[in-house]
């Protein structure tokens, strides 16, 4: 400290010759980052008239303030050099790049999270009753222990006696490993948003109706004329999302705009088509008319006989019912009937 003081005194004496080192100004200073921030507004007049000089002076003043503060810090001497101990940095420098995203969960992790399954820690070694020793859960000495343990495999009751049970076990294991690898790759692809190439349809025993529909759609368009002349079933729907593997398929486009008059004409044509499509002989209608005629006839006869009877009985006080007569030659519908 004495050294610093003598230097400071010496410099103070010398300073009288030079510019003043005292600057009175409010500047926020972060010593940890050796940073001075001058938030005071600039003097516009001076800035415009002599830009360089003004900025130079301002910077000098602010630097001076920073240095003044540094000199107030505790110092020590290390190897002929005076070193100030800087406090902790207060200024928070913003990141250049965004914070990395957390790793997306694998399919199992997602499932476990949804179901609330928590991973349990298993001990590395477990006591094996059969071998009477501690065997590891995985890794070194694990397979040796298993080999020792499974030196004999019982052939299941309904299994083929000539089948090699050891080979079967090895195969099962290797398949399990392969499946795990496939799932790992699938997780990686999902995390990196890579499009996995789709392989053809799986066998018909395991494929769903949707798969079959996709297969039909693709197969239909796989002709030389891209399926233009293929027949269509009455209620057949095209599979969706198969444009990528369908030859000649383009994205579904909106119907092109047409004028109102044109659309009206199109609609009228369609209406005509619909109305003319009706069968020439409408059996239902014919039967209904037949029944109606018969009934009318019967009621007519009844009325006639009724009238005779009525005449005999009461001398014709009753009005004959005559409204049910069939109207021949008139268009169907629209007429009321009581």
């Amino acid at each position: 400290m004495d050294v610093v003081k003598t230097i400071l005194e010496k410099s103070a004496k010398e300073a009288e010759k030079y510019k003043s080192v005292e600057v009175n100004k409010l500047v926020s200073i972060d010593l940890g980052a050796l940073l001075a921030e001058d938030l005071n507004p600039l003097d516009p007049g001076a800035l415009r008239s002599s830009t360089n000089d003004y900025l130079l002076n301002l910077t000098r003043d602010n630097t001076q303030l920073l240095f003044n503060q540094i000199w107030e810090l505790p110092t020590e001497r290390i190897d002929e050099a005076i070193v100030a101990k800087l406090p902790k940095q207060k200024f928070c420098l913003p990141r250049f790049k965004p914070v990395p995203r957390p790793r997306p969960l694998t399919k199992w992790e997602q499932f476990a999270k949804a179901k609330g399954i928590v991973k349990k820690k298993k001990s590395k070694l477990s006591w094996d009753e059969q071998l009477q020793k501690w065997i590891p859960l995985y890794g070194f000495k694990r397979s040796a222990a298993l080999k020792e343990k499974d030196w004999l495999i019982e052939v299941p009751q309904n299994a083929d006696p000539l089948e090699d049970q050891f080979a079967k076990k090895v195969e099962a294991k290797s398949e399990k490993v392969a499946k795990n690898e496939l799932q790992r790759l699938r997780n990686v692809a999902k995390a990196k948003n890579v499009k996995v190439p789709r392989f053809g349809l799986t066998n018909p025993e395991v494929s769903s109706a949707k798969d079959l529909q996709a297969a039909v759609t693709v197969a239909k368009s796989s002709t030389a004329s891209l399926g233009k002349f293929q027949d269509k079933l009455p209620k057949e729907k095209e599979a969706r999302g198969v444009a990528a593997i369908t030859p000649g398929a383009t994205r579904k486009r909106k119907l092109p705009p047409i004028s109102g008059q044109n659309e009206k004409n199109q609609n009228l044509n369609l209406v005509d088509e619909v109305l003319n499509k009706r069968p020439k002989i409408n059996i239902e209608k014919a039967v209904a008319r037949q029944i109606n005629d018969e009934q009318a006839q019967r009621s007519d006869e009844k009325n006639r006989t009724g009238r005779k009877k009525g005449l005999r009985k009461s001398g014709g006080g009753k009005k004959p019912k005559n409204t049910n007569r069939p109207r021949k030659g008139k268009a169907a519908g629209g007429r009321k009937r009581r």
Partner: protein, 180 residues
Amino acid sequence: MKRLSEERTKTLFEKLAKYIGPNVKLLIERPDGIYCFREQKDRVYYISEKILKLAETLPPNQLISAGTCFGKFTKSNKFRLHITALSYLAPYAQCKVWLKPSAEQQFLYGNHVSKAGLGRISENTEKYQGVLVYSMSDLPLGFGVAARSTAECKHADPLAPVCFHQADIGEYIRSEEDLL
């Protein structure tokens, strides 16, 4: 709002023809301007071209309804009439069924019309034809499908259904949310 595909237009006209027969043409050929059918979220709207032009300025996902909803296409591409179409179809009805005042409420609650509730029926109504249901005071109440032809109705059991319920004006209250 998009135009109906040809297939769907056909389905729509077939359905309308069941109720109003050749009068479907009158819905398209109107003296007061061009009217057309438009589709929005599987619902079919009957809309004049003037309003259509205004409606097309809105983004389709924000447009709830424009014109009159005639009905909707089901997932299996069948067309189902909504009660909102009643005011357009009632003037052109081919076959009508009039209900006795006692049966009106039953129908408006969504029940079929039995022989007992039948006031009158149009002559020459075929079996399974679309009919419009009226009250005795000629107020249109809804749509139905004739369960029996006119002749068969005559000898039907009083409790036997004569007209199957399709839509009624009670739906304006009962299923207000589903109508649009």
